[in-house]
């Protein structure tokens, strides 16, 4: 049911952990739905120097977080903001339809963390205009 890439990221997740005094922290999802993602960013001169994550969720939620952290590490915050859930799915070699919400969660976790970084540093990102991750956003639309 999962691709080799998903299983690889699930079994050997990259960048698991926390960052103390992180420049930005984003948490999305809720335990009620079965997935929570928390992303920590270390940002210097708008470059993501380091990123860590913690996830409560299914295999694809863990794999999505892992691959997403890999995709943004070393990138500028603007590059990170350009990452969509589709890109996350592609990087994983695909996800089953009912698991697409997990990749959406990864995209939103990154955005939420950058939003937090922006708030702390009085920066507004025009990419985040209108961005509003709702608590219960991840209905399993595909069913």
């Amino acid at each position: 049911m999962y691709t080799e890439k998903v299983m690889d990221h699930f079994m050997n997740p990259r960048n698991v952990g926390e960052i103390e005094n992180a420049a930005g922290v984003g948490q999305v999802g809720n335990a009620k739905c079965g997935d929570i993602m928390k992303i920590y960013l270390d940002v210097e001169d708008e470059i993501i120097k380091d990123v860590k994550f913690k996830t409560f969720g299914c295999g694809s939620a863990i794999a999505s977080s892992s691959v997403a952290t890999e995709m943004i590490k070393g990138k500028t915050v603007h590059e990170a903001l350009a990452i969509t859930n589709k890109a996350v799915v592609e990087a994983l070699g695909g996800l089953p339809p009912v698991k697409i919400h997990c990749s959406v969660l990864a995209e939103e976790a990154i955005k939420t963390a950058i939003l937090d970084y922006g708030k702390k540093n009085n920066i507004t990102f025009k990419e985040l205009e209108g961005f509003n991750p709702t608590e219960d956003h991840h209905d399993h639309e595909e069913e």
Binding site: M11, V16, G34, K54, F56, A61, I62, D139, E143
Partner: protein, 393 residues
Amino acid sequence: MNKRVYLDYAATTPVKEEVFEEMKPYFTEKFGNPSSIYSYGREAKQPIDVARTRIANAVGAKPEEIYFTAGGSESDNWAIKGIAFANKNKGNHIITTKIEHHAVLHTCEYLEKYGFEVTYLEVDEFGRIHLEDLEKAITDKTILISIMFANNEIGTIQPIKEIGQIARENKIYFHTDAVQALGNVKIDVDDLNIDSMSISSHKIYGPKGIGAMYLRKGVKIHSFVHGGAQERKRRAGTENVPGIVGFGKAAQLITENMDEHINHMMCLKDKLINGIIERIDFVKLNGHSEYRLPGNVNFIFEFIEGESLLLSLDLVGIAGSSGSACTSGSLDPSHVLMALGLPHEIAHGSLRLTIGSFTTEEDIDYVLEELPKIVQRLRDMSPLYEEVKGGQK
């Protein structure tokens, strides 16, 4: 392949060697149609009678009260729809529970669209119904009570005899889904006041796709499959002879060795339950401590989600199941765990391991060695566990 440990006997069981041996001739040389009068036909008919008797003996019924079906789901569908429609003149009310198998729940929901009213009884935190609730739910329109013998997820056994008693006193038919109970609990349909019962072969080391519906003589029911005269004209179609033979043999074996079988499972179950409680914190055993299937273990592991637990177990060769939303493809965790009153976030982290005939002590030792590592690995990734460790909870 590395070590593999199968702990999902509630999902299905392997066919026992003796069962398979007995089935074999009915695929090839004894292939006749049981309805034919020549020798080929008689050769195929006689073993059906034998199987029917064996199954009847296993549950204290008469052979003519056993009807072969394609499994537990069909038996549930037939018993509930068949009795409901045949007794519509007496009333339109059915009582069941919130924790039934979907074969019962979805059948009841279907009947609701055709003028029937259904009461879904609540269960307590251990998964048992309360008899007072049942009595209160009965109206003068109630024609059928369908309550499962034992639950497939949490293993809780219902007070079947008392339910049957209440049904009888109120002249209401009582059907029970005994798919999980057969072979794991002693069943006597007369002693337990059961009017109709669903059973399935693949849960008792018989082949898949064959089951039976017990129907007490005199209970009014509609035919399920219209056509030929098979199954007393109530379920037409050329019989699945090898399947029936296998089911019959499996039923015979399970009844002969029931005490030994139950003992074997109970010992391993207790070892597994105690081992998990000793080795892992923030766990909760679901179900009932006493009224429980001998092979059922169902735990909540807080702060982690069931599917990631199952995937990790699979990678070390352990097969189990979970009531988490992510394994069912729906947003909600299992309706059974929700009915126990567990919060959503907790219900996502359930793991069911079910023990059977071929489970060994070494299997349990292996699980007790691997499971704590897996739970810890997933918790170390979980933001919920972080909060607990940080003392923020």
